[in-house]
């Protein structure tokens, strides 16, 4: 989230699209309802009339996979009716920038952008660039009239998204489109603000990233970014998926979003040079210019004294990808299916039910030589070898199932969607011999290291040089038990030498050797500081000579009255509760909306009052800095050349869809997605065998694959088994009764479910024909309840095709059939 949960109360309009907070983030609804009590309006846009829709002021249905068409129509409406926030758009976005005249878009090239290579399914982005002046800065037209300026190109791109066209694609009635556009468009005034809440309903598509970008463009046009009650807010699905991402458990990022090095970044100097953005814009903060400080501080944290200037702080010890090597989830399981891996750790995960195309995942597990599964309960992954259709005697995988502690049986922090890192305390010991995950890691660290020290082996350096100084050691030098505070402090970072600010004369001491670093501006690129994750620097600090765990704070002061609660827990970065908050003020530093003053410049004291500002520089109108500090240009990108399918979002159909043609252009599907071609990777569009659109979703009573919640009798009693929801009309066509057992079939598998016939799904009118959509929960699996009464995972149906940028699978739009069991 750019903002945070309580901040929902500050909005005038809340758009829940790609999410269903009432069911999936139930307590967040409190803040949405609190906004409504003040007169705010809630809009729910969803293929199904959900529990959120039931509380909404306005509900609009749309066919799964057509969000860009829906939102593209909104951009068109905002521009046509002049609803945008002009001062914000001109000063804080790249709307005025002039684009390369060679650039062409879908309006010119029938759905494609300039530079497409059909063979490689990718773009040469050379023309997706700005015209630059002699000073190296982009040329601008602040009147927004130049035909090559971003604003005019945006107009051209979305003029095609007319109400008729959008309605014929999405199946949304035109009057509903207008109602949503008008209401949400009303937040373009300085004293009105709108927020957007999305979840997997937007990410799990082949156009997932562009769904979100379309909304980001809308929020920028309306001046809703960086302000209280605004933002583009990801409602994350797991208690710590924010923190686990911040800490780099992904193939492409290290901690704090520093890229994982590849072979072309063969030494530290090259890494720093190639991954650190530069800018000629003197008013840009360009925060990522600090990357070398964060990278070296990370290397010092993980390799300690062994990391020296002479050995580039151990940079060679970090594993490097090959150029272009993509190890993301779908590729990982594809390689596993091909037999590439000997070993596999499934740690606190149940991929046999959670990944798309579960049959392929389960078959892949059988190709492993060994697997380690760490979990609270037995599950479909650990027990894959005895699952449906498996012949245990033929499966040679050696499997370890390790029992771990639950969240109340250990101590540590987790970060919620609003980036608040909150500390949890241990209440009881884990049951039996179960161990906290950290203790299992501790054991494995020492056991593998000992083997290397004793036997040698392939390149032992990174194994034996890794720091692991987390508490009291036994006679052999092994840490007896992990002191989790020692880990939290390592993440925050230390001054490894006395560090001086040399920009002042005489140099001023900013940190004493051995002290915790107070905040990331103190981190250095010369090895004199460490920080396991620069983004969490400031989470565990030295204050008045005492070490303070900021994440454990429980202060309730709320001086702004906006619900920032700056003394409750701690949030990244540096406890800034709303990011890009310098966009909430005008050029003189006065809040756009005096009723919701997130920040205000106090000219007399020369400082900001309110939230922790995005840097201390004075407002733009004086000699200040541009507000979008992470962007090299200093402004937000309405034209965003970073993504693979184009600088503006364009509507493409899902890989599996009910339409033979995309009525927007000749490009039916996203032209840059990777399509796996194996036998187990089947997909079928416009195939009579699979005539209905399907989506997956969650119910309040279960969580993810249900591995944790199916074992709780209270929850299982409320939601005992998989169900498939369908319209009264479709049920009538198929002769299916409510409560009857049915089988849902896709090109990849089938799953049993109980039919739930409701008014909540309605057939869509799409391009003059009727399209039915159904939906299933994905909380169930064959392993528990042991009698199979819950049925199996809905992911047996979903396609293993991913978004062109993130490779997140398209679980929210695919084609199925339904038959009686």
């Amino acid at each position: 989230m750019t903002n945070h949960w309580i901040d929902l109360k500050n909005a005038d309009v809340i758009l829940a699209m790609g999410s269903n907070p009432a069911s999936n983030h139930p307590v967040s609804m409190k803040w949405i309802m609190r906004a409504r009590e003040r007169g705010a309006k809630l809009i729910s846009v969803d293929p199904r009339f959900t529990q959120t829709s039931a509380k909404a002021d306005l509900y609009a249905p749309l066919r799964s996979g057509t969000d860009i068409a829906f939102l593209g129509g909104m951009i068109n409406y905002i521009l046509e009716k002049d609803l945008y926030f002009r001062d914000y758009v001109v000063n804080y976005t790249n709307a005025a920038f002039l684009v390369n005249p060679e650039f062409k878009g879908p309006a010119d090239l029938d759905g494609l952008f300039s530079g497409y290579n059909a063979e490689k399914r990718s773009y040469d982005k050379a023309t997706w660039s700005f015209q630059k002046g002699e000073d190296g800065l982009p040329l601008k037209d602040p009147t927004l009239q130049d035909p090559n300026c971003v604003f005019q190109l945006l107009k051209k791109q979305y003029a095609r998204y007319t109400l008729d066209k959008v309605s014929s694609i999405t199946g949304t009635p035109k009057d509903k489109l207008v109602a949503v556009y008008e209401l949400y468009g009303s937040t373009g005034k300085p004293d009105r603000v709108g927020t957007e809440c999305y979840a997997m309903g937007w990410t799990q598509h082949t156009v997932g990233t562009q769904n979100i970008r379309t909304m980001a463009i809308i929020q920028l046009l309306l001046g809703n970014m960086g302000v209280a009650g605004g933002g583009v807010n990801a409602m994350r699905g797991e208690s710590n998926v924010q923190g686990s991402t911040d800490h780099g458990i992904l193939f492409h990022i290290l901690t704090g979003y520093n890229p994982v090095p590849n072979a072309s970044l063969f030494d530290l100097a090259t890494y720093n040079e190639k991954t650190t953005p530069t800018t000629k814009e003197p008013r840009s903060v360009n925060w990522w210019s600090n990357r070398p400080k964060y990278m070296v501080s990370y290397l010092k944290a993980i390799y300690g004294d062994a990391a020296t200037k002479e050995n580039e702080f151990g940079y060679a010890w970090l594993p490097k990808l090959d150029v272009g090597q993509n190890c993301s989830w779908l590729n990982l399981f594809d390689k596993m299916h091909q037999g590439q891996f000997e070993g596999f750790f499934a740690w606190g995960q149940n991929p046999a039910c959670s990944g798309a195309n579960s049959n392929k995942t389960r078959a892949a597990l059988a190709k492993l030589k060994w697997m380690v599964n760490v979990n609270l309960y037995d599950n479909e992954t650990g027990s894959f070898w005895r699952g449906p259709g498996m012949s245990p005697a033929d499966i040679q995988t050696e499997v370890f199932m390790l029992p771990c502690a639950s969240s109340v049986e250990k101590e540590g922090s987790i970060s919620n969607s609003g980036r608040w890192a909150q500390w949890r305390y241990k209440a009881v010991d884990p049951p039996g011999q179960a161990l906290p995950d950290g203790e299992i890691m501790n054991e494995l660290y020492f056991k593998v290291r000992e083997l290397y020290l004793k036997e040698g082996g392939a390149y032992p350096d990174p194994v034996v040089n890794l720091t692991w100084d987390y508490g009291e050691k036994d006679a052999s030098g092994k840490v007896k038990h992990i002191n989790i505070h020692a880990v939290a402090k390592e993440i925050n970072g230390y001054f490894l030498e006395d560090v001086y600010d040399t920009k002042v004369d005489p140099p001023k001491l900013i940190g004493k050797k051995g002290a915790l670093v107070t905040s990331f501006p103190s981190l250095q690129a010369d090895g004199t500081t460490s920080s396991g994750n620069w983004l969490y620097c400031n989470s565990y600090i030295l204050k008045d000579g005492k070490e303070v765990n900021m994440m454990a704070r429980r202060g309730k002061d709320d001086k702004t009255g906006l619900g920032l609660y700056p003394e409750w827990s701690w949030c990244w970065p540096v406890n800034r509760r709303i990011i890009y908050n310098r966009a909430s003020v005008d050029l003189q530093g006065n809040p756009w909306d005096p009723k919701r003053p997130l920040l205000q410049w106090n000219a007399a004291d020369k400082k900001w009052v309110g939230d922790v500002p995005d840097g201390p520089a004075p407002p733009m109108g004086t000699d200040g800095k541009l507000p979008f500090i992470m962007k090299p240009d200093g402004v937000a990108s309405i034209f965003g050349p970073g993504l693979n399918e184009g600088p503006f979002p364009e509507h493409y159909e899902a890989l599996e869809c009910p339409l033979e043609e995309n009525s927007m252009s000749k490009q039916r599907i996203n032209p840059t997605i990777k399509i796996f071609g194996g036998e187990s990777d089947a997909f079928f569009s416009c195939d009579l065998r699979y005539p209905y659109v399907a989506t997956t979703y969650r119910a309040s009573e279960h969580w993810q694959t249900g591995c944790m919640t199916r074992h709780c009798s209270w929850l299982l009693e409320m939601q005992p088994q998989n169900f498939v929801e369908m319209s009264v009309e479709l049920a009538k066509e198929l002769g299916i009764k409510n409560g009857e057992k049915v089988v849902v079939v896709s090109g990849r598998g089938e799953v049993e479910a109980v039919a739930m016939i409701s008014e909540r799904f309605k057939p869509f009118k799409v391009a003059d024909s009727t399209v039915h959509q159904i939906g299933l929960t994905w909380h169930f699996g064959w392993q528990f309840p042991e009698d199979g009464s819950g049925f199996d995972s809905a992911n047996l149906l979903t396609p293993n095709v991913g978004d062109a940028n993130t490779m997140i699978p398209e679980s929210k739009a695919f084609m199925v059939n339904v038959r009686k069991a």
Partner: protein, 201 residues
């Protein structure tokens, strides 16, 4: 003056005279003293399910969780919880939790319970064997090289990559931040690049 249930319990456990409230708290006080949580230790935690981050108070007695309820002091959840958050007592007290490491041998048809040390020794051995056998120290890349005459040509160069593509790891968004940090550190030290988790799905 508003009194939350928790404040009320705190108050009712003291000898403070509550006459200013204008109500007789005796019956409620007697009730509170009869509650099964009256001697319990309170520990605060945050819900392990969705990402709202609701506060929960865990009541324990004799090393056992006897009650869990919403933390009324928590600014986001204000004491409320959803069905899942309300059920975390069943996560701590659950007959189906794994209590001992289990092992399934190649071709085996059933789990066997094993000792931690044996399982961890065996895993460490398998990690080392897979890593040693499949360690990729170098890759070849193409780089542009400037020639003495000033022209650029593409040449091949051997560069260190120091990784193994024979082991993969996923997980976990269910772990604490400190554990997430440790796992990426550990797995990368072994040379893994196939490192993923829930955020990708």
């Amino acid at each position: 003056m508003g009194v939350s249930r928790r404040d009320f319990l705190k108050l009712s456990g003291t000898t403070v005279v509550l006459g200013s409230l204008g109500v007789n708290l005796d019956p409620a006080k007697a009730y509170a003293q009869g509650l099964r949580i009256k001697n319990a230790k309170q520990t605060t935690t945050v819900c392990p399910y969705c990402s709202v981050g609701c506060g929960i108070i865990v009541y324990t007695e004799n090393g056992k969780v006897i009650q869990c309820e919403g933390d009324p002091d928590h600014p986001i959840s204000e004491g409320t919880l959803c069905s899942k958050g309300s059920s975390i007592m069943q996560m701590a007290n659950n007959d189906t939790r794994l209590l001992k490491p289990r092992y399934r041998e190649p071709g085996g048809t059933a789990w066997k319970e094993v000792e931690w040390d044996w399982a961890l020794d065996r895993i460490a051995r398998l990690v080392k064997d897979a890593r040693d056998k499949n360690f990729k120290a170098f890759s070849t890349i193409k780089v542009k090289e400037v020639q003495p005459d000033g022209t650029e040509i593409e040449v091949e160069k051997q560069v260190p990559v120091n990784r193994t593509d024979a082991i993969a790891h996923i997980g976990s968004a269910a772990m604490d931040n400190e554990e997430c940090y440790l796992i990426q550190k550990l797995m990368r030290s072994w040379g893994l690049v196939y490192i993923e988790h829930q955020a990708r799905i």
